[in-house]
């Protein structure tokens, strides 16, 4: 964990923190026998315990859960967010679409990482807030990124989790250092990894994008009218595309070109 969070500064004691999280081995026989770990959020246990070996992965999932379930001053999308040249791209997608792989590849090639999981869009200003944390990669993506970015730093492998094998990749120092810098969204791109496909970017109508974004939202239903307005503003303010790819380097050069115009 120290490896992955090396670029962050620790809060002084008595500084306000949004969420207080504790991971602790239970005080029962599962402390020793096939040891488990409990996740506490402000003193409550929202999840069932996991095997002790998955403690760090649990911390990251738990943190995302805390944000997605409480930060209702944002419209929250299940999405990766990255920025380059002052232009930011929202990559919303359900699990298994290759969103995180693409996100890790872009982040390794000079893009600033906002988040691999959560797009936080301010209800007041419509701006994107970074939530820079290590990138969660699963199964085949782990080796793809290791080969693609040999210099990247990642955690141990967590095997047999509910998401399969998982490893967390360190966010770049530059991304972490500028994690207070907000940005206006420029593009919404729905990525899809399709084996052996060409790299293809197709425009998407506002209305279709709107519906697809709702499906990828964590709290659209919670926000009610405020969510509807924020979503309208978002779709009106950006260009929307569907994107299919199979080769990471082609994908990256296309994205680079998009933000250099």
């Amino acid at each position: 964990m120290y490896k992955l969070y090396a670029d962050y500064t620790l809060l002084e004691t008595a500084t306000f923190s949004d969420f207080q999280i504790v991971l602790r081995r239970p005080f029962n026989f599962r402390r020793w026998f096939r040891p488990q770990v409990d996740f506490y959020f402000d003193g409550r246990k929202p999840f069932k315990p996991l095997p002790l070996k998955q403690a760090y992965a649990m911390l990251e999932w738990g943190l995302n859960w805390c944000i997605a379930n409480h930060a209702h001053h944002f419209l929250i999308l299940h999405s990766a967010v990255l920025e380059k040249n002052g232009k930011s791209i929202i990559l919303p997608a359900p699990q298994g679409s290759g969103k995180s792989t693409l996100c890790a590849a872009l982040a390794g090639k000079g893009w600033r990482l906002f988040s691999d999981e959560l797009a936080l869009i301010s209800l007041k200003s419509g701006e994107l807030y970074p939530c820079t944390k290590p990138i969660n990669l699963k199964n085949d993506s782990i080796n793809i990124i290791r080969n693609f970015l040999p210099e990247s730093i990642n955690s141990n492998l967590f095997c047999d989790t509910h998401k399969g094998t998982v490893s967390l990749f360190k966010a770049t120092t530059a991304s972490v250092q500028s994690s207070q810098k907000i940005s206006k969204p420029t593009f919404v791109i729905f990525p899809k990894f399709i084996k052996n496909s060409d790299t293809e970017l197709n425009p998407l109508s506002e209305s279709n994008a709107f519906l697809m974004l709702i499906e990828n939202s964590f709290n659209y239903d919670v926000l009610g009218g405020k969510g509807f307005i924020a979503m309208c503003e978002l779709v009106k303010g950006v260009d929307c595309f569907e994107f299919s790819y199979s080769k990471l380097d082609e994908a990256i050069s296309l994205f680079d070109e998009l933000v250099s115009q």
Binding site: A14, T15, F16, S17, D18, Q20, D42, G43, R44, H70, A71, H72, H73, D221, V222, L223, G224, K226
Partner: protein, 367 residues
């Protein structure tokens, strides 16, 4: 006094809090499910604008969530009342749903998802079978529990909507039939309230609303939301007093009449002690309750003053654990006399142990 209760009493005090205080207040308020309520109180007291956004968003966000749950509840009330109209039943809304239909301030920022209805006991079967047509199904329940509910309790086992997942408790009384103070439900006083979503619905009248909520809170055996419920009572009393100066006196007369003065006396005592509700000693003096020795008064004060706190590591103490233990048993004993309670608890523990072994067996098979 905890930080949370002091801010509930004087929301304006929030402007003087230090960073470390905010750290604690957010934790305590979250533990007590009172973040959303504080958001409402900050706005009411015109202090929200002076609070740093980095703290305030926690309260705003909880209020946003509570607003959404409130809308869900209103929608369910609409569905339920129109469904029951078809069979000529006009249900009486209780607790959260009633606060909301009547637009009472204590529904603001309250996180709720369950709905409580009161219907005539004779129409229970009809109501349940009709609601089934609208997707309200019984949750899986053991035969023994089913029988327990039907025979002793004041409600049927909870129903759940098959697609919307809302939980519905259908009551036919406000106290279990085995409680020694149980009353004839037909003596309760109702009133009609109007809501733009579904027109007129019935709730308890202002006096019986507070009496019911008192009975409900002070027959509990678990107080996870104890402080929240006490704060509801505080806000109800303040609200009704604001339009009727004689409200608390009328409340006392009504509780005496229903022979539920014991419960009301606890409400009046602890809302005042914990949340400084404006109640004069003169008003409470005519409560028709048995005189308590100083020793027993001290004992119950110890229990309740330790339970009406946020359940958070900053307030945990041996006193709170003792209070929890005592009030757990108090709640059970109020619900039913010992001669029923002991066989019931033995049966329940046996069922729990059996379930545990079954689970272990299943786990083993899965591995």
């Amino acid at each position: 006094m905890t930080l949370l209760t002091s801010i509930l009493i004087t929301p304006k005090g929030a402007v003087d809090l230090t960073e470390a205080d905010w750290e604690l207040l957010v934790r305590q308020a979250r533990a007590a499910n009172l973040l959303g309520r504080l958001d409402y109180l900050f706005i009411q007291n015109d202090v929200a604008k002076d609070i740093n956004q980095k703290y305030l968003w926690h309260f705003n966000a909880a209020k946003t969530l509570s607003d959404k749950l409130m809308n869900n509840v209103l929608r369910e009330i609409d569905e339920l009342t129109s469904a029951l109209k078809e069979i000529g039943v006009a249900p009486v809304l209780l607790k959260g749903a009633a606060y909301q239909a009547a637009g009472l301030p204590c529904c603001q920022g309250r996180l709720m998802s369950d709905i409580d209805l009161l219907v005539n006991k004779a129409s229970l079967d009809k109501v349940q079978s009709h609601l089934l047509k609208f997707g309200w199904v019984s949750m899986p329940i053991k035969d023994y529990d089913q029988q327990y509910y039907r025979k002793w309790m004041h409600e049927i086992p909870p129903l759940k909507h098959a697609t919307r997942q809302t939980t519905l408790d259908v009551h036919h009384n406000i106290l279990p039939l085995t409680n020694k103070n149980t009353i004839d439900a037909s003596r309760l006083g109702f009133r009609k309230v109007f809501h733009e979503w579904f027109g007129e619905v019935q709730t308890l009248n202002p006096l019986d609303t507070v009496i019911h909520s008192s009975v409900h809170l002070f027959t509990e055996s678990e107080f996870d939301n104890g402080l929240r419920d006490l704060s509801d009572l505080d806000m109800l009393i303040r609200h009704f007093t604001s339009t009727n100066k004689n409200y608390v006196n009328e409340l006392v007369i009504r509780a005496n009449e229903l022979e539920l003065a014991d419960y009301l006396s606890l409400t009046l005592r602890y809302t005042k002690m914990v949340l400084n509700t404006p109640i004069t000693p003169k008003a409470t003096s005519s409560l028709n309750i048995k005189h308590q020795s100083r020793l027993s008064q001290t004992f119950w004060d110890f229990c309740f003053m330790n339970i009406f706190k946020p359940f958070h590591s900053s307030t945990q103490s041996w006193q709170m654990r003792v209070a929890k233990f005592i009030l757990y048993w108090r709640g059970h004993l109020l619900r039913m006399p010992l001669k029923l309670l002991i066989p019931h608890l033995i049966r329940k523990s046996y069922m729990q142990i059996k379930d545990m072994f079954n689970d272990m067996h299943e786990n083993k098979n899965n591995i």
